[in-house]
Symmetry: D2
Amino acid sequence: MAIRTVVWGENIHEQTNEVVASIYPEGMHNTIAKAINSDPAITATTATLQEPEHGLSAARLKDTDVLIWWGHKDHGAVADEIVERVAERVWEGMGLIVLHSGHFSKIFKRLMGTPCALKWREAGERERLWVINPRHPIAAGLDENFVLENEEMYGEAFSVPEPLETVFISWFQGGEVFRSGITWRRGAGNIFYFRPGHETYPTYHDANVHKVLVNAVKWAHNPQGSLTTIHDAPNVPVEQAPEPIVERGPKLHQAGEAGYR
Amino acid sequence: MAIRTVVWGENIHEQTNEVVASIYPEGMHNTIAKAINSDPAITATTATLQEPEHGLSAARLKDTDVLIWWGHKDHGAVADEIVERVAERVWEGMGLIVLHSGHFSKIFKRLMGTPCALKWREAGERERLWVINPRHPIAAGLDENFVLENEEMYGEAFSVPEPLETVFISWFQGGEVFRSGITWRRGAGNIFYFRPGHETYPTYHDANVHKVLVNAVKWAHNPQGSLTTIHDAPNVPVEQAPEPIVERGPKLHQAGEAGYR
Amino acid sequence: MAIRTVVWGENIHEQTNEVVASIYPEGMHNTIAKAINSDPAITATTATLQEPEHGLSAARLKDTDVLIWWGHKDHGAVADEIVERVAERVWEGMGLIVLHSGHFSKIFKRLMGTPCALKWREAGERERLWVINPRHPIAAGLDENFVLENEEMYGEAFSVPEPLETVFISWFQGGEVFRSGITWRRGAGNIFYFRPGHETYPTYHDANVHKVLVNAVKWAHNPQGSLTTIHDAPNVPVEQAPEPIVERGPKLHQAGEAGYR
Amino acid sequence: MAIRTVVWGENIHEQTNEVVASIYPEGMHNTIAKAINSDPAITATTATLQEPEHGLSAARLKDTDVLIWWGHKDHGAVADEIVERVAERVWEGMGLIVLHSGHFSKIFKRLMGTPCALKWREAGERERLWVINPRHPIAAGLDENFVLENEEMYGEAFSVPEPLETVFISWFQGGEVFRSGITWRRGAGNIFYFRPGHETYPTYHDANVHKVLVNAVKWAHNPQGSLTTIHDAPNVPVEQAPEPIVERGPKLHQAGEAGYR
């Protein structure tokens, strides 16, 4: 079965900014979805901020294997309830790919537990992404580096937790560097942050970027069933202990009590 | 200068449960503070849930190097504003030591970005903590293992991010295991979770536990000044780029604009 | 194409010890190979210490996707040249699964760069393996724990590098714990250490152990081509620098020189 | 007591190359030792390839807290026996700081278990080191970046194990990037690799480089006693098991046997 992928787009600048609209007349989310749909292992659809529940109903998320997130102008408009719902699905095993300005999205900050801040400069400068971890699944099919001739600069220090693995590091013409492709695991969910994608440049039309996105969806996909027990904190009854023990000492809790949260 | 440490205690069961009151007549927070104050490198004071701002005013946190957190019965009573304030100080470099049932505290879940759930059983069983990482600063002065004759069981899978380092793993009489001492870094702040400390047992009177707490305070302390810039996302002007570049292409932002959050 | 897997067995105790011979009349390597061959995604063959080049010719290793290693009595008999050959293939992308007493094999110590020592006790005691990382590919299809009624004890501290991920932790009846399933990446090669498998017990006839081995082969397999460039340290000519630069200052090396090793 | 530090220098190019001799008339090792000796917490002496046992007798290593290693032209001249002796001391808790071309030293490759290869170009180009991990002890007192106007380029992919923490990433004028400051722990020993230091440039006269070296010595120092047990693989007698157990099943080993290595 194909990997059921939802590309979430904020879809604001495409509607309000002529430059962005001219580069992404169908919206960035549709451009991305189309690119990854070219791989037969993936079935991608889209969702946007403006839809009811931002297009992320509980039922839809339940049937989503990997979620791709692009947002920028109005992170605050995403409902806290939806953010929590997405976080829970990530813990249960849904993959999450956060793009570019999504570093400041509520969902990314929620899962990282850090400010996720960085330096930036919008000057259309050259970015060169180096593969730090050759043969990592997310770098499959890439040369040792690839170039985006015009991109926004993001500079370190990027205040995220030390990653599981670093896949890409970017060189910028103006003198900065950035960890442009990094991975984490949270609960049963694989998370990948990919830096490029400023909306005034044609980044999501780039063939190497397409390769990274396809690879990342496959890497993030956890084919095992949902880990719904991850939210539980079960009280194991004494008589069900793996090894026989005799209860001793004073107690706070009654048998079968749920415990405090 | 001594390491300015605040021991935060929920201070509920000491007031309402006879068993707990008899073991910790001065409150768990005072027992812990007294224990670590025996080391001349540490100056510990206490704060509790019941104080104004839970004893954690902005001014006090600013002068705190390491915060120790014990809570259990009423995590929900901690004000979200205070939680956020503590998180910000951790990112700036304040050390944080989370004890036992603090795994479900708002501040720990906030910084981990995961459910932080686990199995449990209150049967007064034997726990043996093994030093997995000998000569780690937090294990200084300990034997290869130490025993707590009566403790609550916490069992894996503990849903926290893969740690920076694993220091202790516990063996439980009833058949479970648990990563009982694990570290992370978030921003400039060092975080240590230490499992033991159920309130109906005299764990915080144990000499080995005292050693771990003293070691952990020293390890968590970041003697460098506060990293207050960690909250910033500066827009680097083109003319201040480290290497001279010429601005190209279309732009979203005006010069000097703050960017979206 | 199926994952080409070689199960390497030392094959000594099966020939010299009656107990081992009675449990594994075909040799442990054949028992393991047969078990994983039951999965259609895997094609497993065997190699042993006694064969020319220990069954690990350069040609055969070139066509091997994943190597499983079991050795115990005579680690020293493995030729250093073969060890180096295997290490190079791991760096190029061959997966490696090291079993039980293989912790002291030359190849494992070579790739870890640490003593790889541990405590042990041969008493046929009960081992319970807990899944620390649910939904990790190597734990697919397992319950939250599984038991081996008779196993040799291995106890911490296990002197290996901090792993990429911890998948299993074992509880032993006699009071010890051990990180029984841990992963690393070295070059392009995925490495998994799996603790159980003492030769005087029927561990490799256990259905849960079979699941772990099948899962581990699939996880360790890197489907991308061999990273043969990993051994190179190329001198990038100034005129081929990604950005135009002018050579400055004094030099040690002549243009095109290979550099020192 | 001051941190007893030994600065090991290959000391070849200083004797044979006029440029290097003119920059480091006292030898690079003496320049480095002098720089770090300016901090009262450190007592540094030197050792060179040409001395008996390369200046690294067992007695001297026993009294060494931190070893700094610079080599380039003749890594092969370092005796294997001395390499093994140094590795053992690192596992026991001696800190190790490997500089620049030391990436190909026998001791670094021994401890990493990987090729430790990289790209390079000797063109005197500009290197800018960015602090990725602000308030890490090794970055204490540094600005957000610092520049070395003339350095050799080292480019990724650097084939080392995923580090514990990344402290610096370098930007190079010619378009490459490199993880220039990375840490690992092996046994009880802290290891830091620091990239700059090509012998035809005055890198070790740079004030920021001095700061990094001083910081790194303090970070690498493990004040706890030597972990000499790290080489042991003790057979725990059944009657000394932490929990009482009864021996069961067949055995390979006699009571008290040392086990195979």
